[in-house]
């Protein structure tokens, strides 16, 4: 729950960004990032449906590597 997830913006409509990552699409609130310039293609760190920080693509990739490992481990331990 404490771990925010990186996603990439595909479309922006007011305070809402359509984001995608790993085949998932989500609508994300930009309300916590009001003061920044946010563009389509930017990467965001998202927690409970809200962007908490803009991040670089490099950071997004390294965090996703970690999350993929965690998901794999969860799947294994559920067996």
């Amino acid at each position: 729950m404490c771990l925010a997830v990186p996603m990439q913006i595909t479309k922006i409509e007011g305070h809402t960004a359509h984001c995608a990552s790993h085949g998932i699409e989500r609508e994300v609130s930009l309300f916590l990032l009001d003061d920044e310039t946010i563009n389509v293609g930017d990467h965001l760190l998202i927690h409970v449906g809200y962007a908490i920080q803009k991040i670089t693509e490099e950071e997004a990739l390294s965090t996703w590597e970690l999350l993929d490992q965690m998901l794999a481990e969860d799947a294994e331990s559920a067996l």
Binding site: S29, D34, S77
Partner: protein
Amino acid sequence: MESQQLLEKIRALPLSGTVRIMNVCGGHERSISMAGLRTALPSTIELIPGPGCPVCICPEEDIYQAIQIGLNEEVVVLAFGDMLRVPVNAPKQAIRTLEQAKAAGADIRPIASPTEAVIIARSNPEKTIVFFVAGFETTCAPVAAMLEEGIPKNLLLLMSGRLTWPAVALLLSSDTPTFDALIAPGHVATIMGTEEWRFVVDHYAMPTAVAGFTSNSLLAAIYSVLRQGLEHHQFLDNCYTQVVTPSGNQRAKQLLNAAFDIIDAPWRGIGIIPQSGFELKEKFSSHNARLRFPSYADEARKKAGMMPPGCDCAKVILGQIKPTDCRLYGELCVPRNPVGPCMVSDEGACRIWWASGIKNSHSAH
């Protein structure tokens, strides 16, 4: 610097005795366990999971109140997924979790975002919706944003949010602190800034580093606090500069201040920690579930507010014992059949150790 290089540098340090490093947040514990860092690091370095599991410390009385509201009032109760499986202290035959209340007919639904709470409230204008909020600053900031954007009249909040640093302050104020260095949480710091942890260095002269979640970042933070200790030069280091700044997310902090008062608040198994809870400001009184519904607190209830009988979660949360030191671990307490919240939550140390392959007390690393 890459993980392998960092490990070599750490191994080369002239450590003279055991160094106990506490990592506060469940996310860090997951990374540490998954990467096998405890096994990779020299055995003189002890990594201790701390109190950063919001589900684990959520007051038992609040969960009980949420269950009773769900069963006795005409409401829909919403909560983040893990909260549905945390047991309160009630007799075996009684309803002990929100999930069991749901099975008994209460309308209780897991959600993954405050936005879902608003959508459900707007789609069901004739119903009263109670959003039971557990979480630290990283979660409460989105809740504050939701409040600022405006919520419908029929959406109430049962606030059980907590601040992270007061629990660490409590541990540090003990005569015999159980750790020598601190790894501060990365996503809490994204919101609140690294400066929130300055007190650890200034007041307690303890080596501190904010870390991200990759092995690189965690090892960099571990290396930093070990060097700080060896050189007797403590400072507030930031090993997650890609994301974390000294003052954090200003907008998020403004929204938190606008929505919530900070109050003295109970932590399950620990007791009241001063100035550690988020409560709705008076302007949101009409949305406060604590004011709308009667208290269902039952004087006769045994062990209200505490961890389940026989459960050592409180000691695990405070970093006093390892998950495997709990006599229930892996025997009577497993994820499929958890006794205490540390085995329920995916940020609980017990659940994390279990998932990383430690199935009983004998396979501890």
